[in-house]
Every structure is written in C-alpha cells, then in structure tokens.
C-alpha cells in the first residue's frame, strides 16, 4: 500500500491480472480508466514491435544478407509465426477497436458542440487528432499488409512455394520502385510520427507513471517518435533511389 504512494517507474502488476483473468478484463473495460490502460498497453506493445521491425528493416540498407537471414527466420520460425504474429494482430485490433470505441464515447460526452472551440490554446495538435493520425496509419497498414503480409501468406501457404532464404531483399527493394508507393509510405510515416509523439508518452501517464522521470521519458519518447519513422522514411527513399538493376 505504502509503496503505491511513492511514484514508481513500474506502475504495478495489475495488468498481469487483466490479461490472465478474462472476467475481470471484461468488467474492467467498462471503466474509463481500464480503457485507457488497454490503449496504453496495446500501444506500447506496438511501439515495441515497431522498434523490432525497424531493426530488421534497416539491415536492408546496411547488410542485405543479414536482412535476408533475419527475414527468413521471422517468416519460418514457429514461435514467431504462430504465437507472436497472432498476438501482434490481436494487439493491432485491440488498439484500433478500443480507439474507435473511445472516440465514439468521447463524441457522445459532448453531444452539443461549441460554436467556437480554441483547442490549440491548451493542447497540441497531435494530442487532439489521434483519431485522424491513427486512421491514416491504419489505412497505411492495409496497404502494407497487402504489399507484404498477403504476399507472404500467399507465397508460403497458398502456393506452398519452397523456402528461399535469399528472396526477401529483392522483393522489398522492388516494392519501392513505384513513386506513388514511396510517397504514400513517406506520408504515412510522418503521420505515424505525429501519432507516436503524443501516444508513446501518453501511455505512461495512462498507466499511472508521472514522476521525476517523466520529463526524461517524454524526451525519450519524442526522440523515438521522430527517429523511428524517419528511419523508415530513409529506408523507403533509399530503396526508391537505389533500385536493383536487373
């Protein structure tokens, strides 16, 4: 009890109960705070995934062989394919569904709108437009899934092609050949950066972390929000301007 009064980096382990006990979870989601926590946890999970994704992708610029090797591992490792991948999909769905649900409820909480509302006076554009940046990122995700995931699923399971640990690099670079796709990727990553700018730091607040470390956390999350999307943009542009010559 006492320790709870002291601000601590680790909020506590309540969320473990949330995940381990479905009945509590369904009850919890009825409360606004639990909804925030679910948003925060799924968001943080996606942030972590993004870092991992980036780590692999950057090798496509630095060391194509490593890229092929890692991609192949991710594509054919059972744990990754049948445990982590579904968890990731679930994470995206939870984050999306909860985000929409929150937005609808929030809309209802002010049924009659202001004639004049000066939102920029007291809150950042990013924090006020998570639904917009989120939906754009979601749309991008559709393209991204179409580009890579559907392709992978088709290649591996529908067409049941043999394993080829060297195909990934070329496939990836090829995707960035069309100008329109590269532009879409760049725009999407800019919006992802805006989404992360608010969302990453915000998730800590939602889980009850607001203490002397918070300014540092904020700086870290904002650096992350810029660096990672910028990195993805760099990868996209790099491959666009350095096509594989056949």
């Amino acid at each position: 009890m006492q320790s709870l009064l002291k601000p601590s980096l680790c909020p506590n382990f309540a969320f473990i109960h949330i995940n381990s006990n479905l009945s509590i979870m369904s009850g919890l989601i009825k409360s606004s705070i639990a909804r925030k926590v679910v948003m925060a946890l799924s968001g943080l999970f996606l942030v972590f995934f993004l870092a991992q994704h980036f780590t692999i992708n950057i090798t496509s610029v630095l060391a194509p062989d490593t890229f092929n090797e890692w991609s192949h591992f991710m594509g054919y490792n059972g744990l990754v394919q049948f445990i982590l991948q579904p968890v990731l999909i679930a994470g995206v769905i939870v984050h999306f569904v909860m985000g929409i649900k929150l937005e609808l409820q929030n809309n209802k909480a002010r049924a009659i709108k202001y004639k004049k509302y000066n939102g920029s006076a007291n809150a950042s554009w990013m924090s006020r437009n998570m639904i917009i940046t989120g939906l754009v990122v979601l749309a991008f995700l559709g393209l991204h899934i179409y580009d890579f995931w559907i392709h992978e699923m088709t290649y591996k399971y529908l067409e049941a092609n043999p394993e080829d640990p060297t195909r990934y690099y070329a496939e990836t670079v090829e995707k960035f050949e069309p100008f329109w796709r590269t532009v879409l990727y760049v725009i999407s990553f800019v919006l992802l950066a805006l989404h992360l700018w608010h969302g990453f730091a915000s998730s800590f607040q939602s889980m009850g972390v607001n203490n002397k470390y918070s300014p540092s956390i904020r700086v870290f999350t904002q650096i992350y929000a810029i660096v990672i999307p910028l990195g993805f943009i760099f990868i996209a542009l790099y491959h666009h301007f350095n096509p594989i010559t056949h």
Partner: protein, 248 residues
C-alpha cells in the same frame, strides 16, 4: 472599449438555443468580465429585455460558481484565473467575444449560460469523503505526523474549486482531473488509506455513469484549470484504480 458580443441564449433546458449578437460600449479595462456582463444586463433590463443569466457568486476566484466558455476557452484567455478575475484589459477595442456555456452531456444547460454541474456533486457523494463521525473524540490532531511533502501535495490537489473548466476544456469532456484531485488528496494522507480501494472504484464508476468522456491525456485540463491542478493527480488516480482492481 467597444465590443461585439456573441452570447448563447437559451430559454430553458428543453429549448434549443442560439448565439445572439450584442454591441456594447463604454467598457473599461478595470472591469472584470462579469462586471462587463453586468453592464450589458443593466442595458438589457432598461430596454425591457431579459438579462443574460450566468452563474457567479464570490467573484474572488474561490467558490467555483462562475464558468463561461470565452472565445473557445473556459474562463477565457488568461491563465490561472476564473472568469470573475478575468479583466477586460485582456481584450482590445473592437474585439468580438463569443460566450458559451460549458458544454458537456453531463453538464446540461439550465438557462442561457448556466449549466447543471450536479454530476460533480454525485461523484463526490459516491466516495469523496473519509467516514469519520463528529464525536469530538477522534485522536489528537498531532497523533499522526504526516510528511510535509505529502501534506503539501494533498493540499495542492485539494485546492480544486469544482468549477468544471477541466471538463469544458477537454475535447472529450472528461472529468478525470476533477475526480483525481479528490482521490489524490485522500490517497496522499494516512487518514484516507482505509477506504482507498472502495473510494477510487466508486468515484470512477460514478464519473463514468454521469457520461463524462475518456481521458486521452491532451493536458488541456491542466492548462485551463484556474487553480493549476496537476496532471500528476490523474496518474495517481490511475495507479490507485489499478491497485484497487488488483485487490478485487
């Protein structure tokens, strides 16, 4: 000073309202915003029209009665003041000022600029207290020493005046800052520990029942709060809530 006012007029809770234009002359910078409305009302009464009804009482920034969304911000453009302490020198000659009631589904309009904030009362009634009877036989006030740091933080949270600016400012009309201020005050004091679990659960449940929105950490509430209540309190309430939930 000459002003163009656009003021929300609404006959009663059931009617729909609209912004009505009023031109007002002779306003001085030394007037408070509410005194400016007094001048308008005096004019309206003398013309035989119904004055604009607005909530106000202490006019020294502490009772939390006055409200008003002024040019899109609760309590207007100045910081750390309530509308009664906002002075007209913050505006310029010829300005157009839009004045609306605080908007939230949980704050229905009663008339003109007056809203019903009894949802705040019900949140407090659901658990914003320490259950101690007035016997005169409680322990001596100095029997339990309290860390000055905690006591000061409890005081900072307790300065909430319940005006509703946090709800009015929030794009989601969330009442988290208000609710968390009370939860925090008691969470920081030893006297508040015994009922901590029940308190935070009841108050959050009531807050949700009243139809306030969800917090998305935009921080608008903290900026607009006339008493500078910190977002730390919301984080503390989140911790309290998670801890209470883990206890079942």
């Amino acid at each position: 000073m000459k002003l163009n006012l656009k003021i929300w007029r609404q006959k009663d809770a059931k009617s729909s309202g609209e912004l009505i234009d009023y031109a007002l002359n002779g306003i001085e910078g030394d007037m408070s915003f509410l005194e400016m409305l007094d001048v308008l009302n005096e004019e309206l009464i003398n013309k035989g029209e119904e004055p604009v009804e607005f909530d106000h009482d202490c006019r020294e920034g502490i009772c939390g009665t006055c409200s008003l969304q002024i040019n899109g911000e609760p309590h207007g453009p100045d910081r750390l003041v309530t509308t009664c302490q906002l002075h007209m020198r913050k505006f310029n000659d010829g300005d157009t000022i839009v004045i609306e009631p605080f908007r939230a589904t949980a704050f229905p309009v009663i008339k003109d600029l007056i809203v019903d904030r009894s949802s705040f009362d019900r949140i407090q009634q659901s658990g914003g207290y320490i259950s101690v009877n007035t016997s005169g036989n409680t322990v001596d006030a100095n029997a339990i020493p309290i860390d000055k740091h905690d006591a000061d933080k409890a005081m900072d949270a307790a300065t909430c005046i319940g005006c509703g600016a946090c709800v009015a400012a929030c794009k989601n009309a969330s009442a988290m800052l208000f609710t968390s201020a009370k939860v925090s005050q008691f969470a920081l004091l030893p006297q508040g520990q015994i009922e901590a679990t029940e308190r935070v659960q009841s108050m959050v449940r009531q807050m949700d029942l009243e139809g306030f929105g969800n917090c998305t950490n935009t921080g608008a509430c903290e900026i607009e709060c006339p008493k500078g209540i910190s977002l730390e309190n919301i984080a503390r309430m989140n911790r309290e809530y998670l801890s209470a939930t883990s206890k079942g």
